[in-house]
């Protein structure tokens, strides 16, 4: 056995429903946001975002994403590379809802052991977020307020609202 330590890394994987499928979760989220006054929103799609940290390489995370986190029939996955959000005239939004670091994340726990069960290096930690991709005009403060009332509970969630690619 070599004593060479594996590099620690943080990977972000997004798993979303393929665009040809209708998104019930998204429809429900859209309804909730519209009920909070954001009537000009047109569409919402929901995906899941996994943050996996630990001595695991990008290729191994790809493998876990393909075989574990994603249902290849209905879903697709991609590695998320943080880039500065482009300004798009407030027409497309991305809302990430994370459990606060102090709150236990059972989905993350299960992923850690499932990745280890695949024979891959055991990650240090994993967290899961819900991502809402919204299209339609909205003002950021109004959207943040609606998210706090309909999609996230500020007591246990951190919600990040940003302008996004279409």
């Amino acid at each position: 056995m070599s004593a060479r330590p594996m590099p620690m890394a943080t990977h972000l994987i997004e798993v979303r429903l393929r665009p040809e499928f209708s998104d019930a979760e998204g429809a429900s989220a859209l309804q909730l946001l519209q009920a909070e006054g954001l009537s000009s929103l047109k569409e919402a799609r929901v995906s899941r975002l996994y943050r996996i940290q630990g001595p695991i390489t990008a290729t191994q995370v790809q493998q876990a994403a393909r075989d574990l986190l994603c249902d290849p029939i209905t879903q697709e996955h991609r590695v998320v590379v943080p880039v500065p959000a482009p300004l798009n005239g407030m027409n497309f939004w991305r809302v990430e809802v994370w459990l606060k670091p102090s709150v236990h994340d059972p989905v993350g726990d299960t992923i850690v052991s499932a990745i280890a069960d695949m024979g891959l290096p055991r990650p240090e930690a994993a967290r899961c977020a819900l991502v809402y991709r919204l299209s339609g005009r909205a003002a950021k403060p109004a959207l943040e307020r609606a998210v706090a009332r309909a999609l996230a509970n500020p007591l246990i969630h951190d919600a990040v609202v940003s302008e996004a690619h279409p």
């Binding site: 102090s102 709150v103 994340d105 509970n153 246990i156």
Partner: protein
């Protein structure tokens, strides 16, 4: 002795101590602080932080039910009397009076246990998770379900959960008024709570059925979330014991910082500065692994006792198991979620999905193997001793060294004041008269009656394959059932044994606004008549009480609570139905948007469990065919006080419905006996909305009509009003459908004495789906299409959630 994180107690005034404690959410009062001070002055040392926290947890309202066990001085008008121990004098007294040999364990364990057939027993527990659900509806409800499942798992040597049940009280989902900052809208609370109950039950593979929802805007800041579980266990596993020398083994989830101060926090009014650590997200899969491993170890008899880690975490679980002997704990052995937890944090953390077992050392290896096979972690935390002391260490640091006697018996009893003024009996007044057809339509569309399909369809009530009578009934599987019947053949493993059981609830805070005593009576009556309707034996019913009240520091609230408890006592005595377990949740009040205190209406949930002797004889509530006779069991009185009819009309006053247990039980027993012979086609209880609503529901579920003649109704002779006969909510009444050729045989089951329940043929079913009612004067009072009534009944909840 090294004392870490000392908590200066010895030289402070009680007032200072209370302030110091409140800042840490300890919820101890001055008298309790004085007792702690006296104890440690005698020991000539300061308590450690963990000791103070352990005492606060163990003595909290949540764990010790201080209000129910302390002396209460009750003033009723000019009379004053002293109640030494409300719990003993009401709930326990009723159970002792009933003296049923089939009660195997009452009030002792985590759940009540009754016999089920010769070899089996049923454990039943219901409790609330109100404060966490108010802060985070999804996580609060989820962990509530997880907790009550663990209660049943930790009952006896462990019971297999075979049914989950729930009841909620919320503000109306279409509430349009203002809310204080940070409070969730009732619509969101409803959605979150339902999702939480759904996700935990469905993921663990436990059917969820037999629930109820009550909407009232006074619950908008303090929603009530009752969750219950029924578990099945072999008779030999009912008794448990701890022997000195047994190892303390923790199993299941790891310990983290979550859930600190849950018990003490729920023992105070809900205020803005609630600790976020009191809210958690449950991990149903972890609990499922724990369940599977535990039951396998139970059947190999690898441990002697078990309990769950609920409020107070290890401190209360180990404290309870070792209460009679003593325990030595080494916290550094506990598996942690994150490194760097202090000793007191490990000791008091309320991380979910954990249980504590007492394991004879020779079985440890085998036990570890069973748990490891399910991917479930275990750790040996120490051993039970015979010293009578609770000694906890974290590495070299002494965390707790307490006398078990002081911990469990040292709580000072403070006398509380209560007062009760009977409400003036006012004639019904106010509101506008409406035609009966319109009242009926509005009652069916009322949130407290309307279809709950939106909720029920989210729950998996079919898993385990034993749900014989389902929550939704009728030809289109969408009618409102009275109770669910579970045939636990998968858990029993014998398909030739058709013994089943049913679970039902009774709840009506509107009666309580007039008189909590009659509310409690009516709730017991409602739970029993619901059970009777599906074929359960009303003479074998066991009850759970769940009191949810505002602050008992207010003498008026406490007086009302005493009234309700006395109602429970008299109902249980009258019906011969023992209480086997229960819970209370007090301090359900918060400041509204204008800073005024908003207390909830005093609420009692009665949950009842009874065996169904033969699942094949179970009955649903929908009409089965045209031309069948309709019998009304029970007498109708002019009791519209607190009724749905008055609510719809905006009327107040009137007589609150009064149950008469002896007569009602006589009727229930007769109907049950007839059901066992297969003489009853359908049966439905008369509750909110009275006869009219019951007949309409039976009709639209079976898609047959009915013609009722009000002159045939057994009634108080002073009633001259058709409306009263249609909408009065007198308890103890059932509407029963009988085939014309069985009418004689059916009637032979009813007594004829003065105390027997009256039974009258009040009409018949018809092929045309129309509800027609003929009044006292022979005129048609009401003629409504059942289709239209059903549409109104179904549209409400989906409409309010838009």
């Amino acid at each position: 002795m090294t004392v870490a994180a000392e908590f200066g107690v010895l030289d402070r005034t009680p007032k200072e101590l209370r302030a110091q404690g409140d800042a840490r959410h300890l919820s101890l009062n001055e008298a309790e602080w004085t007792a702690i001070q006296t104890h440690f002055r005698a020991l000539k040392r300061e308590p450690t932080l963990a000791e103070v926290e352990t005492l606060a947890q163990t003595w909290s309202e949540h764990c010790k039910h201080k209000t129910f066990t302390s002396p209460i001085r009750l003033t009723e008008g000019k009379k004053t009397r002293l109640i030494k121990n409300l719990f003993q004098e009401t709930i326990v007294a009723a159970t002792e009076a009933a003296r049923k040999p089939w009660c195997l364990s009452v009030f002792e364990d985590n759940a009540g246990v009754v016999a089920f057939g010769k070899d089996w027993a049923l454990a039943f527990k219901a409790e609330t998770h109100n404060h966490p659900s108010a802060l985070e509806p999804y996580g609060g409800a989820e962990t509530g379900v997880g907790g009550v499942i663990r209660d049943v798992l930790g009952c006896g040597l462990g019971a297999k959960p075979v049914l989950g049940t729930d009841a909620f009280c919320f503000g109306r989902p279409d509430y349009a008024g203002a809310l204080p900052e940070g409070a969730h809208h009732p619509r969101r609370t409803l959605r979150g709570v339902v999702s939480g109950v759904r996700d935990y039950g469905n993921r663990m593979g436990i059917p969820t059925a037999g629930g109820g929802i009550w909407f009232d805007d006074d619950y908008r800041l303090n929603p009530l979330v009752f969750v219950g579980t029924v578990g099945l266990l072999p008779r030999w596993a009912v008794k448990k014991e701890v022997k000195p020398g047994d190892l303390i083994v923790a199993a299941g989830g790891r310990t983290g910082r979550d859930g600190l101060h849950g018990a003490t926090f729920s023992s105070a009014n809900l205020a803005e500065n609630a600790p976020t650590s009191a809210v958690q997200i449950g991990h149903a899969i972890a609990e499922k692994r724990l369940l599977d491993a535990l039951l396998r170890a139970r059947d190999r008899r690898l441990y002697r006792s078990v309990t769950d880690c609920g409020a107070g975490g290890f401190s209360s679980a180990i404290g309870e198991l070792g209460a009679k002997c003593g325990a030595r704990v080494r916290l550094e052995a506990a598996p942690l979620k994150v490194a760097g937890l202090a000793g007191w944090e490990i000791w008091l953390s309320e991380s979910q999905e954990r249980m504590v077992l007492a394991v004879p050392p020779k079985n440890l290896k085998a036990l570890e193997a069973v748990f490891a096979a399910e991917g479930c972690e275990t750790a040996v935390l120490g051993e039970f001793t015979s010293t009578g002391r609770l000694v906890v260490a974290h590495g070299a640091e002494s965390v707790v060294d307490l006398d078990m006697k002081f911990l469990h018996k040292g709580l000072p009893k403070v006398e509380r004041a209560a007062s009760w003024t009977p409400p003036p009996t006012a004639k019904p007044a106010g509101g506008a008269a409406k035609p009966p057809a319109q009242i009926l339509r509005e009652m069916l569309a009322h949130p407290n009656v309307c279809s709950r399909e939106w909720v029920i369809r989210q729950y998996d009530h079919e898993v385990q394959g034993g749900t014989v009578i389902k929550p939704l009934q009728g030809v289109r599987h969408d009618g409102p059932g009275d109770a669910c019947v579970i045939w636990p053949h998968a858990a029993v493993g014998d398909d030739s044994d058709f013994s089943a059981f049913a679970v039902a609830h009774g709840l009506n805070p509107d009666y309580g606004r007039l008189d909590p005593y009659w509310m409690a009576m009516a709730c017991v009556d409602e739970a029993l008549r619901n059970l009777t309707c599906v074929g359960a034996d009303p003479a074998r019913a066991a009850l759970l009480d769940n009191f949810c009240w505002a602050s008992p520091d207010d003498p008026k609230q406490l007086g009302a609570l005493v009234r309700a408890a006395e109602g429970c006592r008299d109902a249980a005595k009258g019906f011969g139905a023992p209480f086997i377990s229960g819970k209370d949740s007090l301090y359900n009040q918060s400041k509204d948007e204008k800073g005024r205190e908003l207390p909830i209406p005093g609420t009692v949930l009665i949950s009842a469990l009874a065996p169904v002797p033969d699942a094949r004889r179970a009955v649903t509530m929908d009409f089965k065919g045209p031309g069948n006779a309709l019998y009304l069991v029970g007498r109708t009185n002019d009791e519209l006080g607190g009724s749905l009819c008055h609510r719809v009309l905006g009327r107040c006053g009137g007589e609150v419905p009064k149950a008469s247990p002896a007569c009602a039980l006589d009727g229930f027993k007769a109907v049950h006996a007839a059901m066992l012979k297969g003489l009853v086609l359908s049966a439905h209880d008369l509750s909110e909305g009275g006869l009219a609503v019951a007949a309409a529901e039976m009709g639209f579920s079976g898609e047959f009509g009915a013609r009722l003649d009000l002159d045939e109704v057994a009634r108080d002779p002073r009633i001259y009003s058709d409306e009263t006969l249609l909408f009065s909510e007198t308890p103890g009444r059932l509407l029963v459908e009988v085939k014309p050729e069985s009418e004689g045989a059916f009637l032979r089951h009813f007594g004829r004495g003065a105390k027997a329940a009256p039974v009258r043929r009040v009409g018949q079913t018809t092929a045309n789906p129309i509800l027609k009612v003929v009044g006292l004067a022979g005129n048609t009072v009401l003629e409504e299409s059942l289709r239209a009534l059903k549409d109104a009944w179904q549209a409400t909840l989906p409409g309010m959630l838009k």
